[in-house]
């Protein structure tokens, strides 16, 4: 039993807390990115093998590919996380650019003031 999973889910919970309680738009965006970071940590942790080595064939393993395959950690989650990080950055960028305009229109970043749309 390791704490990796626990920490990952704590990050997700922290992000959720931030989303429901905080009022500042920037903080909400931070909360979102904390949630995705937690999920990334979980994803990376799944691929770990006890005593594993990075999935790179170094010179020591050039002639021992079976040994490499038996020791290296899972490469797929690492690739997935790479993709997912880019995606979360994109969402972040868009959110912040919208925040600029929200500030221009409403003069505040308090999401409780952003409620002109309701009927």
């Amino acid at each position: 039993m390791s704490i990796n999973y626990a920490v990952a889910m704590m990050l997700v919970g922290l992000g959720l807390y931030c989303l429901v309680v905080k009022r500042n738009l920037i903080k909400l965006v931070i909360g979102l990115s904390v949630i995705t970071d937690g999920i990334h940590l979980l994803l990376i942790s799944i691929g770990y093998r006890s005593g594993g080595i990075p999935p790179i064939v170094t010179s020591a393993y050039m002639d021992n590919l079976e040994g490499f395959a038996a020791r290296a950690v899972d490469p797929v989650p690492q690739a997935l996380v790479l993709t997912s990080i880019v995606i979360s950055v994109c969402v972040l960028a868009l959110a912040l650019s919208l925040a600029i305009y929200a500030y221009r229109h409403y003069g505040t970043l308090d999401v409780r003031k952003l409620r002109r749309l309701r009927e």
Binding site: M10, Y17, V21, F68, P75, L80, V91
Partner: protein
């Protein structure tokens, strides 16, 4: 105050639920390649990638080889975000 406490409680509940689920559903930490010995995709890629792609970095061969389409999608996401940000921050309003 009361309302905020309720919200906090909901977030904590969801977090706790996920915490329990993670330990119940997922194989425990460090147990790759999971229960399915040698049929997990990651394990098969580790065995086959050095000979199939010739790359020493297996992650690279996943990113650019086996899952190259995802990378294409990722580039498109980036492009989407760039267009979106450019659009939001463009100069001028209605042309009229």
């Amino acid at each position: 105050m009361n309302r905020e406490f309720l919200r906090l409680l909901t977030a904590v509940a969801v977090g706790l639920l996920l915490l329990v689920a993670v330990y119940a559903v997922l194989p425990s930490f460090g147990e790759f390649p999971q229960s399915r010995e040698n049929t997990a995709v990651g394990q098969r890629i580790l065995e086959e990638a050095p000979s199939q792609t010739g790359a020493t970095n297996v992650v690279t061969s996943v990113v650019w080889g086996y899952r190259g389409y995802d990378t294409f999608g990722e580039a498109t996401v980036l492009f989407t975000a760039v267009v979106g940000v450019l659009m939001v921050l463009r100069a001028g309003g209605r042309r009229e």
